[in-house]
């Protein structure tokens, strides 16, 4: 499995989904998982696990099938006081069946080209050492070269993923490098199915398939059409996504919304696509742990402040609600490329005494934010799935979601509006904060509904997909 982010470093929906799914899959007796994850160098705690190097390249393989390692993990965790998620991970015996491979890579999920450039700037000290050794495969033989040499040769080399580094292609270069490392892993490890999450790992998935001949499952959590909007498509990303989908033996989409995008815009055969909805782990009520300090109702937007998430619609709706009632405060939690623009916009509307920005929230702060909220709003322009409304509902918060989200296909007890319909959004917010009966109903019903949506259901569906593929092959 080529996945993303493991606790305690989860920063978004993709990481949450990968973690939940992997955990549930490993509960099956007949499934073992080799989890490959890109990680920024220096980030990992060296004391937590034994390091098994896959040669002299920047790959770290964690054998996690010994009691001892987990024992060490527990102690180091309590010392470092990491988030509780991590503790559930390590105390969970199921996870012993997952083997981790961490690849030193600067790949980051949820990131655009411009953001990636900024990210590289901020992490200058972590930039890859060009003299580091790396393996790559040529004419069927695996060769050892330095990254610098490799980059020189790779430009001449023909191939589908050969992007010349003329324009903002740092990110794509990294994707390419990651794919090469994936080949080494595929050559050295034994497995039956390749499962790759999202476009950044598509190249890695294809590479692994090429070298091993095993069936490839591409799991689509988002497409370029969601991220950029329909008029801002990056053709190189699109090409990579399409290549992955075409090479795949099966494609899993997180909603029918996404499935339709694949059919319509990528020209993929509908029979190849299966929708498997995300889920969420039940959680205890945190409302008692955190107390709201203001007497007004709190309406929350939590997510990256980017075009895809529709922050401006939220601000406009907030403005409309504030014309009618004073008993409300709005919070926009998160950051992103539209962060500053949104601050100025709210300031221009003159509502910032009641509209607050928190910046990026981490770990426990997110739980706290959910716990003190009275309404959660996700006005996404295009949301393949959207786990956060489920997390909100889990914390007893009524949710309003846009019809243009995958989660709207599964969550019944939520207000659903068109993302562009600010009046409807304002109306719904006003209703929930004003009429107690309505909010109580949503709280109770959606909590009940969400507590049923556990990860074992999608895991079971995916297991079936695996078996169909294997049977076909045999």
């Amino acid at each position: 499995m080529f996945g993303w982010e493991f606790p305690p470093h989860i920063s978004g929906g993709l990481g949450t989904a990968c973690y939940g799914l992997t955990k549930a899959l490993s509960a099956f007796d007949d499934i073992e998982i080799l989890f490959v994850v890109p990680k920024l160098y220096g980030d990992e705690d060296k004391s937590v696990a034994r390091l098994i190097s896959a040669g002299n390249i920047s790959i770290k393989q964690y054998k996690t099938n010994t009691e001892k390692i987990f024992g060490e993990k527990t102690s180091s965790v309590s010392k470092n006081n990491l988030s509780h998620n991590f503790e559930t991970l390590i105390t969970d015996k199921l996870l012993k069946k997952i083997e981790f491979i961490e690849i030193k890579s600067k790949l980051q999920p949820y990131i655009s080209h411009d953001e990636y450039k900024k990210f590289l700037k901020e992490h200058k000290h972590n930039i890859l050492d060009k003299s580091k050794k790396l393996y790559y495969e040529k004419d069927g033989i695996i060769k050892e070269v330095t990254l610098e040499e490799y980059e020189k040769t790779s430009r001449i080399k023909e191939g589908k993923y050969n992007f010349s580094g003329t324009y903002g292609s740092e990110l794509l270069k990294e994707v390419y490098y990651y794919a090469q490392v994936a080949k080494v892993i595929a050559a050295e490890n034994d497995f039956d199915i390749i499962h790759a999450h999202d476009w950044l790992t598509n190249a890695a998935g294809i590479a692994a398939k090429e070298i091993s001949g095993k069936p490839l499952v591409i799991h689509v959590h988002a497409t370029e059409f969601d991220r950029g909007g329909f008029d801002r498509i990056d053709s190189r990303v699109f090409a990579l996504e399409k290549a992955g989908m075409e090479a795949a033996d099966k494609i899993i989409t997180v909603s029918n919304l996404t499935k339709n995008i694949l059919i319509k815009h990528y020209g993929i055969n509908p029979e190849k696509i299966v929708t498997v909805y995300n889920a969420v782990e039940p959680q205890n009520n945190l409302k008692k742990k955190y107390k709201k300090n203001v007497k007004e109702k709190l309406v929350t937007f939590l997510g990256r402040i980017t075009y895809q998430k529709g922050p401006a619609y939220f601000i406009n709706a907030a403005y409309k609600v504030l014309q009618k009632t004073d008993n409300v405060r709005f919070v926009m939690a998160g950051s992103g490329d539209m962060f500053h623009e949104m601050i100025r916009y709210a300031a221009k509307l003159g509502i910032t005494d009641k509209f607050h920005f928190t910046g990026f929230l981490k770990g426990e702060e997110v739980n706290k934010m959910f716990a003190i909220s009275d309404v959660y709003v996700m006005p996404s322009v295009s949301e393949p799935f959207g786990i956060s409304p489920l997390e909100a509902a889990r914390s007893n918060v009524p949710v309003i979601i846009s019809k243009q989200s995958g989660v709207a296909e599964v969550l019944k007890n939520a207000v659903k509006t068109d993302y562009w319909d600010e009046d409807a959004l304002a109306d719904a917010i006003y209703g929930i904060i004003t009429y107690k009966g309505l909010s109580e109903m949503f709280k109770k019903q959606s909590k009940k509904e969400v507590d049923e949506m556990k990860w074992d259901k999608p895991a079971k569906e995916i297991k079936e997909i695996y078996y169909t593929l294997l049977n076909k092959q045999n």
Binding site: V294, I343, R344, A347, G350, T352, D353, F357, T358
Partner: protein
């Protein structure tokens, strides 16, 4: 009789600590005490104390030929009292020589003159009282926050009885005219205007240690020769800078203090200029013309306007939201809230939100404790939100006079009047009528006095 006026501004804001959304409604302390203390102490030892020592020596040496002017904001005085009391002592020593004049301004270095002239006057009075308390002087010359000036502000300043006000010799206002003479306020010619010579001032404040400047290195001799070279019609040279120029912005290593030490002597050697206080200048010189400034000017940045504080949406929003509390604050007497209210008005908070990055970006950077103007805005608004909660609560708790109470009083007075009239009706009482009428009139007045102010208060709510 030609004069040089040296004027130094000293101001320190009460910087806010990192105040998060989650703190609203819970955390009631807003200020970064450690940062404010370290800042004040660093500048005190690098700048205020050594520079004051130089000035004291100069005054002893040159006697009445050398004088200087200061304005110290109320917040800076508070911080000196809290964190570096020896600085106050050293300013007192300067004040005692009689050659040092202190100017008046708004207590908290606020932008209130742009918003509410009555509140403006109140804040000036607070500052005048503070100066009187510390240095035993009653200021006669006014200087507004960051030299902000426009016709109406000038008019209010004149109404308060100040005889002169200092401001920027802004190029776009003066045009071809010289800053080296006096002007007057066009709405009230009684108020004289003393203008900053920005060329000579900035030579010291910004360019002194600039190695790419063609006049580098700037010696006292060279600088004095520029002033000596002014023709005879240039009566007054006004060199106005931040006092932090001497040791903080220009570090001691640049030789700025030696420059200051040598400067007066060079002036006396090369010219007939002497140093004067601003009130002396206002007395001894006559203004040549009116200066019409319909839109406010300041001494900041290339544009000399208000855009450093009120240029973008965020700054305007914060400013409007802050002053939307001023009605309520005028009724609230709680000392703790009044102090915070003053400190939140300090202009620096708005300066931190500036998005101007062009020519003056580096200056903005230097003063800014926040990583970005957006952080400054969010932090300030979070603090303001919490403060608003407290103001509203305090306002709710003001007990207005009950209507029943007022009605009862009216009834009492009416009965009293009736009785007095009854007195009047009695025979042979005409000679007693006069005092009775007077008593009736007096009672009526008293009735009014009881009813009116309370009614007024109620309608305002």
């Amino acid at each position: 009789m030609r004069h040089i006026c040296l004027y130094f501004q000293i101001h320190q804001p009460f910087r806010l600590k990192r105040y998060r959304f989650f703190d609203i409604g819970e955390e009631q302390h807003y200020f970064d005490d450690l940062e404010n203390r370290l800042h004040m102490q660093r500048i005190a030892y690098n700048n205020y104390l050594p520079a004051n020592a130089v000035l004291l020596d100069l005054i002893k040496k040159h006697k009445d030929k050398f004088k200087v002017n200061f304005s110290i904001s109320g917040t800076a005085l508070e911080q000196m009292e809290l964190y570096a009391p020896e600085v106050i002592e050293s300013f007192k020593a300067l004040a005692d020589t009689g050659n040092v004049e202190f100017l008046a301004e708004t207590y908290a270095h606020s932008l209130i003159s742009l918003y509410d002239k009555e509140e403006f006057k109140k804040q000036v009075k607070e500052h005048v009282a503070a100066i009187k308390k510390h240095f035993g002087q009653t200021p006669e010359v006014f200087r507004n926050t960051e030299l902000i000036y426009d016709n109406l502000t000038g008019k209010s300043v004149a109404e308060m009885g100040f005889k002169a006000m200092i401001t920027e010799g802004a190029k776009h206002i003066l045009g071809w005219k010289s800053p080296n003479v006096l002007y007057y306020n066009v709405l009230n010619p009684e108020l004289k205007l003393i203008l900053k010579n920005y060329k000579l001032s900035d030579d010291i404040a910004f360019r002194f240690s600039d190695k790419s400047w063609d006049a580098y290195p700037l010696t006292a001799e060279k600088y004095a020769s520029w002033i000596a070279g002014a023709d005879e019609h240039q009566e007054i040279i006004n060199i106005f800078t931040d006092y932090e120029t001497f040791g903080e912005h220009q570090k001691a290593e640049t030789g700025i203090l030696d420059f200051l030490k040598a400067f007066p002597e060079e002036i006396f050697k090369q010219s007939d200029f002497t140093f004067a206080t601003l009130s002396e200048v206002a007395e001894k010189h006559e203004p040549v013309a009116g200066m019409n400034v319909p839109y406010a000017i300041s001494w900041a940045d290339e544009e000399r306007d208000l855009t450093a504080w009120l240029g973008n949406e965020m700054q305007k929003e914060a400013f409007n939201k802050l002053y939307s509390l001023s009605d309520k604050m005028s009724f609230i007497k709680r000392h703790d809230l009044q102090i915070i209210w003053r400190h939140l008005q300090t202009s620096d908070h708005f300066y931190y939100m500036s998005t101007k990055i062009l020519s003056d970006g580096s200056v903005h950077d230097y003063f800014n404790p926040y990583p970005s103007p957006y952080d400054a805005f969010i932090n300030y608004m979070n603090v303001l939100s919490d403060f608003t909660l407290r103001v509203n609560e305090a306002y709710e708790n003001i007990i207005p006079a009950e209507p029943e109470e007022i009605l009862q009083k009216i009834k009492d007075y009416e009965r009293k009047i009736k009785n007095l009239y009854a007195e009047l009706q009695k025979p042979k009482m005409i000679e007693r009528a006069k005092p009775v009428f007077a008593a009736i009139e007096k009672t009526k007045q008293e009735t009014k006095a009881v009813i009116l102010p309370k009614n007024k208060k109620r309608t305002r709510k």
